[in-house]
């Protein structure tokens, strides 16, 4: 079994890489796939908090690489889903304590046993970024509709292309539909025309995200949440399920009726 290794990256910090990894990982695990999430943000780990698993950490990524433990010992099983695992980053070490080659080996070993390996990339384009993308065969670039985030995403896409990662998709996070309508925010079309990479999905801005992060329960567990639904749709698209491309899933009665006829 050869799984897919996907790095989630953005360049700019705070745009929602870790949230995306947690939610996509959980959605895919809910579809009964074996999923491992690897936090490569050594020194600034967050994924364990978002997943609500911070009290279970014994070994971490650097321990695996230095041979202090087997990889199974460092993998933490999710509280709800038995086929979802997480490898936490080391908090007391530095990005330079691992090399891209070592991460590449680890990822290829994980991909043999699991369907999806999701890598949470640190912000920036230095050593940590190079480590994170080394083992990936596809990339998801997360951006928010802000000029600074888009500029960084553009740079990161350039670097990914230079690193021969061909499969790059875009996730637009925290889109505020009202502001786009008023013309105060860049629209999805504007962003795609600038970055020219295929879109995987758009996550609407929502207060629920902060709440779910603080509680340590990924949003996709919450059936009523729009942002959670967006992540579930993205996971389905990532999985190659034939879903209408983004934009056709218009909301409201008319949209729903149209969708009903379409299906």
């Amino acid at each position: 079994m050869a799984g897919k290794t996907i790095v989630v990256t953005s360049g700019k910090g705070g745009v929602g890489k870790t949230t995306t990894v947690a939610n996509l990982g959980t959605s895919l695990a809910k579809k009964k796939y074996g999923v491992v999430m690897v936090d490569t943000d050594i020194g600034l780990r967050n994924l364990d908090v978002v997943m609500g698993l911070e009290n279970r950490i014994v070994y971490n990524l650097v321990d695996i690489i230095e041979g202090k433990c087997r990889k199974e010992q460092a993998m933490i099983r999710d509280r709800k889903l038995p086929n979802l695992f997480m490898i936490p980053a080391a908090q007391t070490r530095e990005k330079t304590s691992v090399t891209p080659q070592q991460i590449k080996e680890l990822c290829s070993n994980l991909a043999k046993e699991y369907d999806y390996v999701l890598i949470d990339c640190p912000a920036g384009i230095e050593q940590g970024f190079k480590n994170a993308i080394a083992g990936a065969d596809a990339a998801l670039v997360v951006t928010t509709p802000e000029v600074s985030a888009i500029r960084d995403a553009d740079r990161v896409i350039g670097l990914l292309e230079a690193a021969m990662i061909r499969q790059i998709s875009l996730i637009i996070n925290r889109l505020n539909a009202k502001m786009v309508k008023k013309g105060d925010m860049m629209s999805t079309q504007d962003i795609i025309s600038l970055l020219s990479v295929p879109l995987l999905g758009v996550v609407p801005e929502s207060d629920e995200v902060v709440v779910s992060t603080n509680r340590g329960v990924p949003l996709v567990h919450n059936a009523g949440s729009k942002a959670g639904a967006a992540f579930r749709n993205m996971a389905a698209r990532l999985n190659g399920e034939g879903l209408a491309p983004y934009g056709h899933e218009s909301r409201g009665l008319f949209g729903r009726m149209k969708r009903l006829f379409w299906n």
Partner: protein, 230 residues
């Protein structure tokens, strides 16, 4: 012993020339060896052109730099060498996806803006970039520069001649970097944060800009940079 060494070296040279000349139905392609030095390449080309008499005279060649990136000053040295020897014109440069090597060798000395420089430039083939220039990419061309794709914010295109963009120009473009005031910037749509021609700098006006018809040209008129929609 020394004799054997030199023999070995010669054998190696015969196996792996510093630059290979491939011929296909579109013409000649030059592929430099990834480890060869510029001097070796120049010396080898010199020898080949000498040996082949007029075989390569006035031909057009493609320079393939996907395995061995060259800096712009190295490319121009090779251009000059080929043109001087047998009027060979390099019509296309193939680059790898990573353009970061262009960031090295920034030893571009400013050329005096003379008529001689202008004529020099016409002899040089333009640098063709076949992908979108994303943020962080810097391209320096000793002649004209043609970009087949967009130039995104944060990218820089610097050319001694014209800058031609088949796409939207949103980054920084500098035409006539050597001081050539007649240089122009062409793009399907010019919406950059800054454009420079020779020693002049212009910023785009605040507010929404009317959409371009077919393409736009920026040039110096009466001492100021003007963008004209055509």
């Amino acid at each position: 012993m020394a004799c054997i060494m030199s023999l070995n070296e010669k054998a190696q040279k015969a196996e792996k020339p510093p630059i290979r000349i491939k011929a296909d139905r579109n013409g000649f392609t030059l592929v430099p060896d990834p480890v060869a030095s510029l001097d070796d390449i120049l010396a080898y080309m010199d020898e080949r052109l000498e040996q082949s008499h007029n075989f390569f005279h006035q031909t057009q060649m493609v320079l393939d730099l996907r395995t061995r990136p060259m800096r712009t000053d190295e490319i121009s040295a090779l251009y000059a060498e080929l043109y001087e020897k047998s009027q060979v014109k390099v019509v296309e440069v193939r680059l790898s996806d990573s353009l970061s090597f262009l960031l090295a060798g920034e030893a571009q000395k400013p050329r005096p803006a003379s008529k001689q420089a202008g004529r020099d430039r016409e002899n040089r083939a333009p640098l063709i970039v076949r992908n979108t220039c994303r943020s962080g990419v810097r391209i320096v061309s000793p002649a004209d520069c043609v970009v087949l794709g967009d130039v995104n914010p944060g990218a820089e295109i610097i050319a001694e001649g014209d800058v031609i963009v088949f796409g939207a120009l949103r980054g920084v473009a500098h035409a006539g970097a050597g001081g050539e005031r007649s240089a122009r910037i062409w793009a399907l749509s010019i919406e950059p944060n800054q454009i420079r021609i020779a020693n002049l700098v212009a910023v785009s006006p605040r507010g929404a800009k009317p959409a371009a018809n077919k393409f736009e040209v920026a040039e110096i008129q009466n001492g100021v940079i003007q963008v004209i929609s055509l």
